[in-house]
């Protein structure tokens, strides 16, 4: 197996919208991107066609449509979410996931609805970097793939200031190696790329490579996240059928409100869960909190907890009657949230590690409060009973700790001004023109969308630029 998070991610494949590239112009916070939606759009189109994504055109102003394969029909609880959304004026539309509901070429199969995308698809019917990008790349014969290589630093020529290669340690043999290169492209994920650059110190680059601005590691931001679960009594004693569907939600809610009318600046989308999934570790836990609240088949209430035939029947009756909602929103990027090299700690290869400084601001906390209020509205509209007590100010309204949603971006941000950005608009380092960063590190702002599709589009754009610059003999 090759690669990292694309092996087990949720396949949520959203384009950023026009407003997502110009947040500062809209609300005065953070920074605008040096590029706009029209610049990235052709690359989103290419990514759609190469990789495949299902969904349905919705023609929304800030959630642009992709080139879609047919979406799977909603499951039962998802139809209930849609009905509740209609009553509340909250859009609940087909989700947009990079899973092939139809074959797109002879190399990859199409989805057979086993719901196990997070284990990596053996038919290559969903997107992972290894199955969809690396394998075809290796097949060209133009690629030498070195696995188990832990990059230590980017090496530079002290007179020209250009990168000359990368040093790495073989994780199996613990031996040291160097690779010479004309161009170095980092795609190690936002924090690891920042770590590599910060560790690439030299007399010429005392603050690390591509860091004369001092911004490398700064503006680190993750998606916000808050969740709530509920029990839907009318789903008790459900009819059984195979409702696995694809390995993710079939519907979702894109951001639908105007922040000018709200007390927080950025939006969020809602992801929906529920259904008769495959029982796994944790199945049935906490029945003692549930089976005392609802009448039995005889219409009578009974004592919570218990054992025996009646308890066994409860597990059957309650199966498939729980739902969940997760908000995933945009945080405001700030220089105060950053990662930096820990002066005292190295990893097992002797490479200095990162330490993190990250605090949520009122913007994110108020957004989480809004999520919780929305979740309860939806639960009530569905005739459900919310699980546990409503998260409040005592725990930031259930706002997950920074880093938990693993959409970290922004640590090597792009911009037109070399004093306030590490990369230019082609993801190329201002300080060393043969160094590129093509992961989430280049993001100026996160948007209320998952970052993968934009990472892919910007990576493709940087690749085109590299080819062009090599042809022009600038690289």
């Amino acid at each position: 197996m090759l690669g990292g998070r694309t092996n087990h991610w949720g396949r949520i494949s959203l384009r950023f919208g026009p407003n997502d590239f110009r947040r500062k112009s809209i609300d005065g916070l953070g920074e605008d991107w040096p590029i706009n939606y029209d610049t990235v759009k052709p690359y989103y189109d290419k990514v759609d066609k190469l990789i495949g994504v299902f969904g349905a055109p919705a023609n929304l102003p800030n959630d642009p449509d992709s080139i879609y394969l047919p979406p799977p029909k909603p499951r039962l609880h998802e139809l209930m979410f849609q009905k509740a959304g209609k009553a509340l004026d909250i859009p609940v539309i087909p989700s947009r996931l990079s899973i092939l509901t139809k074959p797109i070429n002879n190399e990859r199969g199409s989805c057979f609805y086993c719901h196990q995308c997070n284990r990596g698809c053996q038919a290559y019917a969903d997107f992972s970097a290894s199955s969809v990008l690396v394998i075809p790349a290796v097949k060209t014969g133009n690629v030498t793939l070195i696995t188990n290589a832990m990059a230590r630093e980017v090496l530079t020529d002290q007179s020209t200031g250009l990168a000359t290669g990368v040093s790495y340690v073989d994780k199996e043999k613990l031996s040291e190696h160097t690779i010479k290169a004309k161009i170095v492209v980092l795609a190690a994920s936002a924090c690891e790329s920042a770590r590599l650059l910060l560790n690439s110190k030299s007399a010429r680059f005392p603050n690390g490579l591509a860091n004369s601005s001092g911004v490398v590691g700064k503006y680190l931001h993750d998606s916000t996240g808050a969740s709530r679960g509920a029990f839907i009594p009318k789903l008790m004693d459900r009819e059984r059928y195979n409702e696995d569907g694809v390995g993710g939600m079939h519907v979702y809610t894109p951001w639908w409100l105007d922040n000018k009318k709200l007390d927080f600046p950025r939006g969020y989308h809602i992801e929906y869960g529920g259904g008769m999934g495959m029982p796994g570790y944790g199945f049935g836990w906490g029945m003692e909190n549930q089976n005392g609240k609802y009448a039995g088949p005889d219409g009578k209430m009974k004592e919570a907890g218990g054992y025996g035939a009646s308890l066994k029947n409860d597990y059957r009756r309650f199966y498939g009657a729980n739902i969940g909602m997760s908000g995933r929103g945009e945080a405001v990027a700030t220089a105060d949230n950053y990662c930096e090299i820990d002066k005292n700690t190295v990893d097992k290869y002797g490479i200095p590690v990162l330490r993190f400084n990250y605090k949520w601001s009122d913007y994110e906390i108020k957004q989480a409060k809004h999520m919780q209020d929305t979740f309860e509205e939806i639960i009530h509209a569905m005739g459900g009973v919310a699980t546990g007590s409503k998260p409040g100010p005592e725990n930031n309204y259930g706002l997950a700790a920074p880093g938990r949603i693993i959409h970290e971006v922004g640590t090597v941000r792009m911009g037109n001004d070399p004093k306030s950005s590490a990369l230019n608009k082609f993801s190329q380092a201002h300080d060393a023109k043969n160094v590129f960063v093509v992961d989430g590190g280049s993001f100026v702002s996160q948007a209320d969308k998952n970052p993968t599709w934009t990472i892919l589009a910007l990576s493709w754009r940087a690749s085109d630029y590299i080819i062009d610059q090599v042809k022009q003999k600038n690289l």
Partner: protein, 214 residues
Amino acid sequence: MKRRDTLKALTLSSFGIAAVNPQELLAEQRELELALAESNVEDTIEIPGGRTKEEAIHDAQLMKMTFFTPAEMATLAVLSDIIIPADEKSGSASQSGVPDFIEFMVKDQPNWQTPFRGGLSWLDLESRKRFDKVFTSLSKEQQLKIVDDIAYPQKAKPEMSQGVAFFNIMRNFTATGFYTSEIGIKDLGYMGNRPNQWDGVPEKVLKQYGLSYS
């Protein structure tokens, strides 16, 4: 290189031949560690689908260890069958392998070892206090007298709180162990995890809930 060959080749540097590059020594040391990790389990280790070699080695090592005593395993079997007995639809918790599942889980997640061992001890102590015998030697009626005092968290007496906490854990692990077994999945009626085509909710279910796709 095969593990046997690795073990043979190691003699080169393990006698401390001076000229060997320290990097290579380190690399050989690492190969030795990997080879020994494997030799601690089986000569040939089978790697199930979806597992890495390291995970397969980890699992094989866990399976070789024993945590619960035979007496503890017997108590787990009796208790789990009180929680999920056989009925007209399916077998019991112990028939589905719940005690073995708990044995595996406490080795995989050692933080559960004390709650289980301690909870089982609590149960035997309570049994001795009341009936002068360990739990498994009690009559069914006597066993249920104790279980009735710890199975209902909201009406249990305060002095039973530790027993209640243990029984909650036991109930949870029994449910997960049973319903993730083949018997339990059939009992529950889960029909997925197999190739199929999803074409939406069956018509009669849509009608039942007053929903439609149009």
